[in-house]
């Protein structure tokens, strides 16, 4: 099968072209580095099936980070390369184009963002460009689909060419200068309102208040949408579901089936949070408590991503992040990790050095709760007052900063400075926002529900066999002695390896005081990531670095848990 690889600079719309060609849904955003791994899809060209590979963005074939290494590897497999070029920045994009042509592989150029180039006064004589480069050049607007058909039609025109002797970079730039001078005309334009907003959001005097406002507004939106959905959609649905599941429990009667599917009855009734049955807690926790916040978080995140605000936030945060051993771009894994730690861990690829990736991934695993866990923390501690939630968040924030400062000091290796292109502000497309939110929510449902079912099943089995009592006694000196928690909390802490949201829910029946709950959820966040994040981190960091990272997590949990016990509960 013919393999077609999409290559191009970061943030030129490769993933959108990929979606147009294959119909497959991939997440694209308005910031460089939103694709860190390759995606595959299929399409038919004149009756023949072809495989399309969406490679991460790269400025040249000389890779400078892990995502660019992936792009260079993917290129080796290509039978045909679609070079996606940003028409608003032709000159810079042509360097990769010349490198691709040098490889001898058949190349077609998709001159994307054509509409924006025209609007901003950039005229490109694309037939002349085609003549200069000797490869087909097709203007496209991937977002609307304009030009995609012609791109597909002209893929047959190209054929392999002999591998060219690579010319030095300086000669390439001279040629690029010559080509752009011939084919491109740039008209003067006055600054627009969009330019003024962009300036205001990167200048420190105005940018910092804007950033605080945006973050506050984002979390306020998440909370309001989440609570509204729970109140008006999910709680009524689960209210309607309750009689049916109660009748089912009565029909089963006392026994193992009722224990596993319905769970324990609390005061003779089903309690969706505490019963721990597959059909009760197993459905209510992911759907009734977590899903509304997941939907609202990803909706808000998608707007932030597509508007182009995240790179500006990275610029403003760079001074802080640089002291933590990363650079401002470290805020992207942090933001994505607040939805789910897995994409957050993958996003660390955009950081250039091993040291930066190690610190970013370790801090993510230690101090960044995913939205599912955060929703449960709100659910568990919310009834006692917002001050308890604030204690957890503030502790995790301090841990993030303190651990970052320590790691920046002691982890060996280089920590490069930020060098980031800031994309123009764009109005988020409602259809794309809805699509991205749905894709991420679907990913959450596909991952959360099986793990929750497995976790609940495991808890019931271990409970029935007496293993939980045994393990509780084994770790009692740690949980009771160091953290001031009941020994039964050990089970919840261990279950956190499977699903953190379930583990937080398991703390409720233990009847702990609010301050004990604060300690328990904080330690639960810090001590170890969930199994899905762990698997990704092993792949990203390697087993040795992951071992070091794990040791740091456990050590931090012990120190923070003990410290909180002394401060909050007294010695």
């Amino acid at each position: 099968m013919k393999k077609i690889v999409l290559m191009g600079n970061p943030n030129v719309g490769k993933s959108v072209v990929f979606s147009r060609l294959t119909g497959a849904r991939v997440i694209s955003s308005n910031y460089p580095g939103s694709t860190v791994d390759f995606a595959k899809g299929r399409m038919h060209i004149r009756g023949h099936e072809a495989e399309i590979i969406d490679a991460p963005g790269t400025y040249s074939l000389q890779a400078s980070n892990k995502a660019e290494e992936v792009a260079a590897l993917v290129l080796d497999q290509a039978d045909l390369v679609i070079n996606v070029v940003d028409a608003t920045n032709l000159e810079r994009n042509l360097f990769l184009t010349l490198e691709l042509i040098e490889t001898g592989k058949p190349v077609v150029i998709a001159l994307n963002i054509w509409d924006e180039a025209v609007r901003s006064g950039i005229e490109i004589d694309y037939p002349a460009l085609e003549e200069e480069l000797g490869v087909p050049v097709i203007p496209v607007v991937a977002l609307s689909g304009e030009g995609i058909r012609e791109l597909v039609n002209r893929m047959d025109e190209v054929s392999s060419r002999p591998v060219q002797h690579p010319v030095p970079d300086e000669e390439k730039w001279i040629r690029i200068g010559s080509v752009t001078k011939k084919v491109q005309t740039i008209r003067h334009r006055h600054p627009t309102i969009r330019d003024r907003i962009s300036r205001a959001s990167i200048a420190p005097i105005t940018g910092v208040p804007i950033a605080i406002g945006v973050i506050f507004l984002a979390f306020f939106t998440v909370r309001i949408i989440g609570e509204t959905m729970i109140q008006f959609i999910f709680d009524p649905i689960f209210g309607l579901y309750l009689p049916y599941v109660t009748a089912l429990g009565n029909w089963f009667g006392p026994g193992i089936l009722q224990e596993v599917l319905i769970g324990r009855l609390i005061d003779g009734e089903i309690d969706y949070v505490q019963s721990l049955g597959i059909l009760t807690t197993g459905l209510y926790v992911p759907l009734g408590m977590v899903l509304p916040y997941i939907i609202s978080f990803y909706f808000t995140l998608s707007i932030l991503e597509d508007s182009g605000y995240l790179p500006r936030l990275a610029t403003l945060a760079d001074s802080v992040f640089h002291r933590l051993g990363m650079h401002g771009y470290g805020i992207v894994p942090l933001f994505l990790g607040m939805g789910c730690n897995v994409p957050g861990a993958l996003a660390t690829r955009c950081l250039e050095t091993r040291k930066q990736r190690f610190i970013s991934a370790t801090l993510l695993a230690i101090a960044v709760p995913c939205m599912a866990q955060l929703a449960m923390i709100f659910g568990v501690l919310g009834p006692f007052g917002l001050s308890y939630i604030f204690m957890v968040i503030a502790t995790l924030f301090i841990v993030y900063i303190a651990a970052g400062l320590v790691l920046a000091r002691f982890v060996k290796g280089e920590s490069y400075e930020i060098c980031l292109e800031i994309p123009p502000y764009r109005m988020p497309d409602p259809g794309i926002i809805a699509k991205k939110t749905w894709m991420r929510v679907r990913g959450f449902l596909g991952e959360a529900i099986p793990y929750l079912f497995a976790g609940i099943l495991l808890v019931n089995i271990l409970y029935a066999t007496g293993f939980l009592d045994w393990i509780g006694n084994l770790f009692a000196p740690l949980t009771a002695g160091l953290f001031g928690l009941p020994k039964e909390a050990t089970t919840a802490l261990l279950m956190g390896f499977l699903r953190k949201d379930l583990a937080v829910g398991m703390l409720i029946p233990l009847g702990m005081a609010p301050l004990q709950l604060v300690i328990a959820v904080t330690v639960l966040t810090i001590y170890f990531p969930c199994v899905a994040t762990f698997a990704v981190l092993v792949r990203e960091l390697g087993s040795i670095d992951m071992l070091k990272s794990t040791a740091l997590m456990v050590a931090t949990a012990l120190v923070v848990g003990t410290g909180m016990r002394i401060i909050l509960l007294g010695v």
Partner: protein
């Protein structure tokens, strides 16, 4: 690279910049031009990039320049005061300052990118750093001959934001210090 500079009195002037992409529409013209403020400075193609010889930290270069009669009070050279209010001296006093006597040193016309004032434009001249550093910058669109404008400078030694080819670029401060630009 050593190049002779006939217009500046003939001293050999070292030019370290790689060839400039003169054919780009974004690239400034590098033809002969003269400043009007002092009426003395001459730049011809790339040769007079060597005016930074007058920097105080290169006394040997300064001696060479003096030897060849290249000083601020002879035709061919001017004092260039980059930015606004160098050493707090108001701009309108610059001409008077020139005639008070031979200046202690002549401000270099080539300065690090970090020395620009907000909204000040300059031309990228060369980079001080290894191949990887230079390659990375060029890939991001930062190349010799390009006009850059400083848009913002973050506090606490944070990065700077520049505009280049209608694009905004965030660059770490240490990196920016290694990008030498020519103020105009």
């Amino acid at each position: 690279m050593i190049a002779s500079n006939p217009e500046c009195g003939g001293p050999s002037i070292r030019t370290t910049s790689p060839p400039v992409n003169t054919s780009s529409p974004h690239t400034s013209q590098r033809d002969t031009r003269k400043t009007t403020a002092g009426g003395l400075f001459v730049m011809h193609n790339n040769h007079c990039a060597g005016v930074r010889y007058f920097r105080a930290r290169h006394p040997e270069d300064r001696e060479t320049a003096d030897k060849h009669g290249l000083n601020p009070f002879k035709s061919g050279v001017s004092i260039l005061y980059p930015g606004h209010g160098f050493l707090g001296i108001p701009k309108y006093l610059y001409p008077a300052y020139q005639y008070l006597g031979k200046p202690k040193f002549v401000m270099p016309m080539e300065v690090p990118l970090t020395s620009l004032a907000i909204d000040q434009a300059a031309i990228v001249r060369h980079f001080i750093g290894g191949q990887h550093f230079q390659h990375k910058l060029r890939m991001m669109g930062m190349r010799e001959g390009k006009v850059v404008k400083l848009l913002a400078s973050q506090p606490l030694m944070g990065p700077i934001v520049i505009e280049i080819d209608r694009r905004e670029l965030t660059i770490g401060r240490r990196m920016a210090k290694h990008i030498i630009v020519e103020t105009a």
